[in-house]
């Protein structure tokens, strides 16, 4: 039995979000009732969480409707959600999960192992993240409340993967999961604390409290453990104009708004009935390099890295120095257990002379370098303009290719010959996600080795050392990407809101209106 060994590596990772997750107004007595309207930039076009990795599916519907076998706590560590207990076979090839009993779906049916098997089979077939669990050979029901995962090779981070929030492996009734292709779910029924009442595409998602919700007792924070549904109704409204998201707080039509531009901070401080909250977690700005042209030479990638003034880029991305952290770690947020300053010497160099020297060593003599970025995504355009200007000033011949997001996304994924480097935003939440450095064609034996360690290793210290090795060998020497720093988000809330965690995912259970 290796449960304790697994626990030991996640237990080692404990430096995390505690400082961010102070629960406001804990002295007040919770009250039931009320409607909480949350103004967001855009609600998701699909609610099929299995099949899409769009963050909005999780934040504005998915995590209220459904639950998975595991969930991430306030420190981004996996905790059991629909699972009561679990065991790992001695060879690491069989994981047996005992399910909680008496957990009803929104349609009244009790969740059992057949639902878990059907949901996992659908997830493995339709999820964009299914490759992370390709070592899962099959999932089988042992009895009504026991499920076994049979693996071809050890998969140490399985609870982490089951809790992963990108295209999460949520559990739905067998009848809905079976045969439903990607995006083809006809009903949205889960075991979560709220049930879907109305969904107007691109306008609003309305959720009502699920009165028969079977809550856990543990207070783990994050999206794990106990979920008290105090609010009667939650409405996520798509309000594309940020001015209107701000104005709605002042009129009291919205109880919270996010994202808001950082320069609204002062206006929120002045507002009599609203206040600003800096959420110290957002996707990081990053450039990826194409492996098809001039950037396939690591010296050229080092040259670009040397030229960049990260502080200027982060300021352009946020517009306010309170909203970023010049984090030298190219992988982890500062509050994550794997964080270190390894590679700090090559971060934020802002050294055009070194850049051109490296470029000349690589044989660069002024050929055009194509920089592909999105003109339509939030936080893309401004920083991309600054990056292009910095590189141009350093002496690179930059062709700046600014297009709408669907075009950028297609070119990034299907045609690496159409660009030399490209801007995107990303953020790693768990060790196995270092795989993201391979998203657009980069790979190396050292990257493969690091991934192997992650899949096999359960001890935190060994895993930490593997991450350090990965940073030294791959991030510093091979430069698969360059991250500019950590970005924070601004949220506005009205003063009558209590119990809202300062988490990026802003769960609305445990929240009430005074």
């Amino acid at each position: 039995v290796r449960r304790s060994r697994f626990s030991s590596w996640i237990a080692g990772a404990s430096l995390l979000l505690a400082a961010l997750s102070g629960i406001a107004g804990a002295q007040d007595e919770p009250k039931y009732g009320g409607t909480f309207t949350f103004a967001v930039a855009t609600t998701p076009p699909s609610l099929d969480w299995h099949a899409t990795s769009a963050k909005a599916v999780q934040l504005y519907g998915g995590m209220y409707i459904w639950e998975s076998l595991f969930a991430l706590d306030e420190a981004l560590l996996p905790r059991p959600m629909l699972v009561e207990d679990w065991e790992v076979g001695a060879d690491g090839l069989e994981w047996t999960f005992t399910l909680r009993q008496g957990v009803p779906f929104h349609n009244g049916k009790e969740m059992t192992s057949e639902d878990v098997v059907a949901s996992m089979e659908r997830w493995l077939a339709v999820s964009p993240m299914a490759s992370t669990m390709e070592r899962v050979e099959r999932v089988e029901a042992v009895d009504d409340y026991t499920v076994r995962f049979v693996l071809s090779e050890p998969l140490a981070p399985l609870p982490y993967l089951l809790a992963a929030e990108t295209a999460q492996a949520v559990i739905m009734p067998k009848e809905l999961a079976e045969g439903a292709g990607p995006g083809a779910l006809t009903e949205f029924i889960g075991t979560g604390p709220y049930r879907l009442v109305e969904w107007v595409t691109d306008r609003s998602i309305t959720l009502d409290r699920f009165e028969d919700y079977a809550a856990r007792d543990e207070d783990w924070g994050g999206v794990a453990g106990r979920k008290d549904a105090y609010l009667d109704t939650i409405v996520f409204r798509s309000i594309p104009e940020s001015e209107v998201r701000l104005a709605g707080l002042e009129t009291g039509e919205f109880q919270a708004s996010q994202p808001l531009p950082a320069d609204y901070f002062d206006a929120l401080e002045r507002a009599p009935n609203a206040e600003p909250v800096i959420v110290e977690f957002d996707l990081k700005p990053v450039i990826y390099f194409s492996m098809e042209g001039i950037m396939s030479d690591p010296l050229m990638r080092k040259a670009i890295r040397a030229a960049i003034d990260a502080e200027e880029v982060m300021f352009a991305a946020t517009g306010d120095e309170r909203f970023y952290d010049l984090n030298p770690d190219q992988l982890w947020y500062r509050f994550q257990a794997f964080w270190s300053d390894t590679g700090a010497e090559v971060y934020n160099q802002a050294d055009p002379e070194l850049a051109m020297q490296l470029a000349r060593e690589a044989g660069y003599d002024g050929q055009p370098i194509r920089f592909l970025a999105s003109s339509t995504q939030y936080h893309h355009r401004q920083p991309a303009i600054i990056i292009a200007e910095q590189l141009q000033d350093a002496g690179f011949n930059i062709t700046f290719d600014l297009r709408d997001w669907p075009t950028v996304s297609q070119l990034q994924n299907t045609d690496p010959t159409a660009w030399d480097f490209t801007y995107i935003r990303t953020g790693l939440m768990m060790p196995s996600e270092i795989e993201f450095v391979r998203l657009f064609g980069f790979d190396s034996p050292e990257t493969q080795e690091a991934l192997e360690v992650i899949f096999e290793e359960v001890e935190f210290e060994a895993l930490f050392e593997a991450m350090e090795e990965f940073k030294r060998e791959v991030i510093v020497e091979q430069v698969p990407w360059y991250t500019f720093g950590d970005m924070f988000a601004l949220r506005g809330v009205t003063t009558d809101v209590r119990g809202l965690q300062d988490l990026y995912s802003h769960p609305l259970w445990g929240v009430w209106l005074e």
Binding site: S53, P128, A130, E241, T426, F436
Partner: protein, 347 residues
Amino acid sequence: VQPDASGAAWGRESRLDEGRGPSPARGGRDVVTQFLVRRFLFAIVVLLVDVLLVFSLLHLTPGDPALLIVGGERGGVGGLEAIRQQLGLDRPFHEQFLSYLGGLVRGDMGRSFFSQQPVFEMLASRLPMTLQLAAVSLLIAIVIGVPTGIFAALKRNTAWDQGFMLIALFGVSMPGFWLALVLMLVFSVTLGWFPLVGYVSPAQDVGAWLRHITLPAVAIGFAQSALIARMARSSLLEVLRQDYVALTAKAKGLSPAVIVLKHALANAALPLVTVIGLSFAALIGGVVIIEEVFALPGVGSLLINAVSRRDYFVIMGCLVLIAAANVLMNLLVDVSYAVIDPRVRYD
């Protein structure tokens, strides 16, 4: 593709000679029927061309819906082929087009790639709001625009005329979203008279409907009223210069009010009706920005979001609807000429 442009073009060509042939009032019903049939057939051809053009352009535009389904901002990771297959995007272009056209003929507009809702249902749920917004906006525009235009024409070359026309110029030039934000700031945030955003159906609560629709309708209607006022002024001035008004009516001793309201205005109405009719058609698909600012669930916002994620069948559905609205309004404008002006003939 500008469906209104194509519609308007052939609308004008077939527009009706004066002073020849039998008028509908004098028993020309067959001619009217022929005219309507001809226009209906033209409409179908225009719609088919529209469908083919838009379908082709969509498939030529970069951007892969499957990638956007799995993708999110962090980019796609896998499972693309299965989705392309399920959506039918792996089939050759002509197969996809014929399959869509076949569905369209049977009344099946396809489903959204993302929400899996039938496009027909999505349009049916959005159209009433857009029609209401267009109608109320136009009403506001007419109520403000026509009297202003008449007044300016009667007081031409005075300070009144110049003042009104300056306001009209301001109205035409002002960005709609800016006026919308100012209206919100004054009437919702500061005075609290109107809700900031959202929509309530009149079937649910007429008072709430009116409160929700007023600000967006004023934001659109003001710009439209400026256009109508300018058109009303210039048309009326044109008529007032004609001999039958300038000399005959005055010589008959008619009062200035009767001259303007009974004789001049009726003759100045044709261009006005054209502008108003085509404005209504344009508003069906053209209130995108105001719908976005006020977070209204209309056809315009459906279209703009569908374009941003390459939701092909939703884009097609919206554009077929907008094209059909333009064709229909052109037809209605032409038919209305005969009602307004008995000299008009359907040849």
